[in-house]
C-alpha cells in the first residue's frame, strides 16, 4: 500500500500507469495479458478513489476500454459481434498495444532529451571579448533626432508618390501593434537593421506610416535606439539596453537623460548640428522621441 502512495504522483496519464504495471509484471508489451492488466488497472483506480485523489477523465476512459477488451475476451471469436463503425478485424487489444508501444518510445525519447538538456548546462561556449582595436574604429555614434527620422521616412514615402493616384483602394490591413511586433522581430533576428530595410516590403503609404509609427512608439518606450553612424548616412536601428527599458518608469520622461543608454553621448554634444536647430522639439515631439530628449539635455 505504501508503495502505491508514492507512485501516484508520478503517472502522467493512463498510458503511463499501464506501462508501469507492465514493467512490474516483467513481461514484453506484446505478450502482456490484458485481462489481468485490466483488473490491476481498475484496482489502482479504486485505490486512487480511496485516497480521495481526483481521477482524471482519461483514466476512466482507459478503464472502460480495458473493461470492453476484457468482456470481449469472454466470448469465443466466432460469437463476437462486430461493433458498428469499427473496421472489420480491428482488434481493440491490438489498438491499445500499438498505443502503448508508441507512447513507450516517446517516453524513452523524452528521457534522452532530458539527458541532452542536462548536458547543455555543462557546455560553455567560447565567447571572445571584443577585439581591442574594434572599439577604436567606429566613430562615436550620434543619436538621431525626430527630424532625421521624419526626413528619412519622407524619403521612403516618395516611392509611393508616383503610383498612389491610380484610383486603387487598399484595404487597411496594417495596425501599429502588428508592426511593433514586426519591427521587434526584425531587430532581434538581425541584431540591428537599417532604416530602409524596415520599409523594404511595404506596399503602400499606409503601411509605411504604420511601420513608422511603430518605430516611434518603440523608441518612446526605450525598446529601440536609432543611431546615424555618419552625417547624412543611413539610420541604423538596434535594441536598447534592456536594463534601461525596464529601469525607467514612464513618469521619468520629461527630459531627464537615463544613465544607461548614453553610450556615446557625453563625448560630443555638438555632433547633431546637421539637424535643424532644436527650437521646436519641446512642442511637437516631446512624447515621440527619446532622442529628442537627449538633445534637450
Amino acid at each position: 500500500m505504501a508503495e502505491y502512495k508514492v507512485q501516484f504522483e508520478v503517472f502522467e496519464g493512463p498510458l503511463d500507469l499501464l506501462l508501469y504495471l507492465i514493467k512490474k509484471e516483467e513481461v514484453d508489451i506484446y505478450e502482456v495479458n490484458l485481462t489481468k492488466l485490466a483488473t490491476q488497472f481498475i484496482e489502482y483506480i479504486d485505490l486512487m478513489r480511496q485516497f480521495d485523489l481526483e481521477i482524471a477523465g482519461e483514466f476512466l476512459v482507459m478503464a472502460s476500454t480495458l473493461m470492453y477488451i476484457k468482456s470481449r475476451e469472454l466470448l469465443p471469436v466466432d460469437q463476437q459481434v462486430a461493433v458498428e463503425g469499427e473496421e472489420e478485424g480491428e482488434d481493440p487489444r491490438w489498438e491499445l498495444i500499438r498505443q502503448l508501444v508508441e507512447y513507450k518510445k516517446f517516453k524513452d525519447a523524452a528521457a534522452r532529451l532530458q539527458l541532452l538538456e542536462a548536458e547543455q548546462e555543462n557546455i560553455f561556449p567560447r565567447l571572445p571579448g571584443k577585439l581591442e582595436f574594434e572599439s577604436v574604429a567606429p566613430p562615436p555614434k550620434p543619436e538621431v533626432s525626430i527630424f532625421d527620422l521624419l526626413h528619412a521616412v519622407s524619403g521612403v514615402l516618395q516611392r509611393f508618390n508616383q503610383r498612389e493616384n491610380l484610383g486603387e483602394i487598399f484595404e487597411d490591413k496594417w495596425t501599429v501593434s502588428e508592426k511593433i511586433e514586426f519591427v521587434l522581430r526584425m531587430v532581434s533576428e538581425r541584431g540591428g537593421v537599417r532604416f530602409a530595410e524596415l520599409f523594404a516590403g511595404a506596399a503602400s503609404r499606409a503601411e509605411v506610416i504604420c511601420t513608422f509609427l511603430a518605430l516611434l512608439e518603440l523608441i518612446r518606450l526605450r525598446r529601440l535606439v536609432c543611431v546615424q553612424p555618419e552625417d547624412f548616412g543611413e539610420i541604423e536601428i538596434s535594441r536598447a539596453d534592456p536594463a534601461v527599458a525596464v529601469g525607467v518608469p514612464p513618469a521619468v520622461e520629461g527630459g531627464i537623460l537615463p544613465p544607461g543608454n548614453a553610450s556615446g553621448i557625453p563625448a560630443n554634444p555638438e555632433i547633431s548640428t546637421d539637424s535643424p536647430p532644436g527650437g521646436t522639439p519641446g512642442s511637437t515631439a516631446g512624447e515621440t522621441s527619446a532622442a529628442t530628449e537627449t538633445r534637450q539635455s
Partner: protein, 230 residues
C-alpha cells in the same frame, strides 16, 4: 593555407556562432579587399556545401585530438564549446550558466512527440500521450520551444505545431535530423504480431439462441457523482 584553418581562425575570434552563409560572406568580403591575394580570391565563390564539409572535417580533427573543447554546430551555426566534463572548473570561473528551469516530465514527453512528428496537431499529441496537453503546450510555447507552423487539412483546420530554432539551441542539436533515433521515431510502424495477442478464443459457452432481454435492471452505478473530497 587550407580552408578549414581559415574557418577555424574565424570561429575562434567570432563574437557569436556563425552559420555557413555568414562564413561564406566573410570569405567573399576578404576576397574583395584591395590587397587580396590568390588564396583569398580562390575562396570567393565557394559553395556552402564545401564550406560545411570543411567545417565537419575540422570538427572531426578536434574530436580526434581529444582536446578540452570541440567545434559544435547548433541550429546550423558553428562555435567552439568546452567539453561537459570540465564544467566544475568553468562554473567556478564564469558562474553557472543562465538557463531557464529544467523542463518537467510532461513537457519533455510532449516536446519529444512534437519534435519527431512535426507538423502535428494538438489532438494527435494528445492521442499519443493519452492525456490532455493544453497546459504543457502553453508552457512550451511561452518558452519559445514550440510554435504554430500551419494548419492541418482536416475538418476544422486545426493549427499544427513544430519546434523552433530555440529548441535546437536548448538541446544543443545541429538540426532535427540530429535528434536521437530520428529515423526510428519519425514515423513508427508498429508491426502487428502474428496470432492472437492474449487468451485463446472459446473460453465462454455458446450463448443461447435468443437472449431474453429483461427490462434492464439499473446498474449499481460506478461511484455516482465525483464528489470533491471534503
Amino acid at each position: 593555407m587550407e580552408l578549414k584553418y581559415i574557418l577555424e581562425s574565424l570561429l575562434f575570434s567570432a563574437q557569436k556562432p556563425l552559420n555557413a552563409k555568414e562564413l561564406r560572406d566573410v570569405l567573399a568580403a576578404a576576397a574583395g579587399a584591395d590587397e587580396a591575394e590568390a588564396t583569398a580570391q580562390s575562396l570567393a565563390k565557394l559553395k556552402e556545401n564545401d564550406l560545411i564539409a570543411a567545417l565537419e572535417q575540422l570538427a572531426h580533427e578536434h574530436e580526434a585530438a581529444a582536446r578540452s573543447y570541440r567545434l559544435a554546430c547548433v541550429a546550423g551555426s558553428w562555435q567552439f564549446v568546452t567539453q561537459p566534463e570540465y564544467a566544475p572548473w568553468l562554473k567556478a570561473l564564469v558562474g553557472i550558466k543562465a538557463r531557464p528551469p529544467r523542463l518537467s516530465q510532461p513537457a519533455l514527453e510532449t516536446l519529444a512527440i512534437i519534435s519527431y512528428r512535426q507538423p502535428i496537431t494538438r489532438a494527435e499529441v494528445e492521442q499519443i500521450r493519452g492525456v490532455n496537453v493544453d497546459g504543457t503546450m502553453q508552457t512550451l510555447m511561452e518558452r519559445g520551444l514550440v510554435e504554430a507552423v500551419g494548419r492541418a487539412e482536416v475538418v476544422g483546420r486545426p493549427p499544427t505545431y513544430g519546434t523552433t530554432a530555440m529548441f535546437l539551441e536548448y538541446f544543443g542539436l545541429r538540426g532535427l535530423e540530429d535528434l536521437p533515433a530520428a529515423d526510428e521515431l519519425r514515423r513508427i510502424v508498429v508491426e502487428k504480431p502474428p496470432g492472437p495477442v492474449t487468451a485463446e478464443p472459446g473460453l465462454a459457452t455458446t450463448p443461447p439462441e435468443q437472449l431474453a432481454l429483461q427490462s434492464a435492471a439499473p446498474e449499481p452505478g460506478e461511484g455516482g457523482k465525483p464528489e470533491a473530497g471534503s
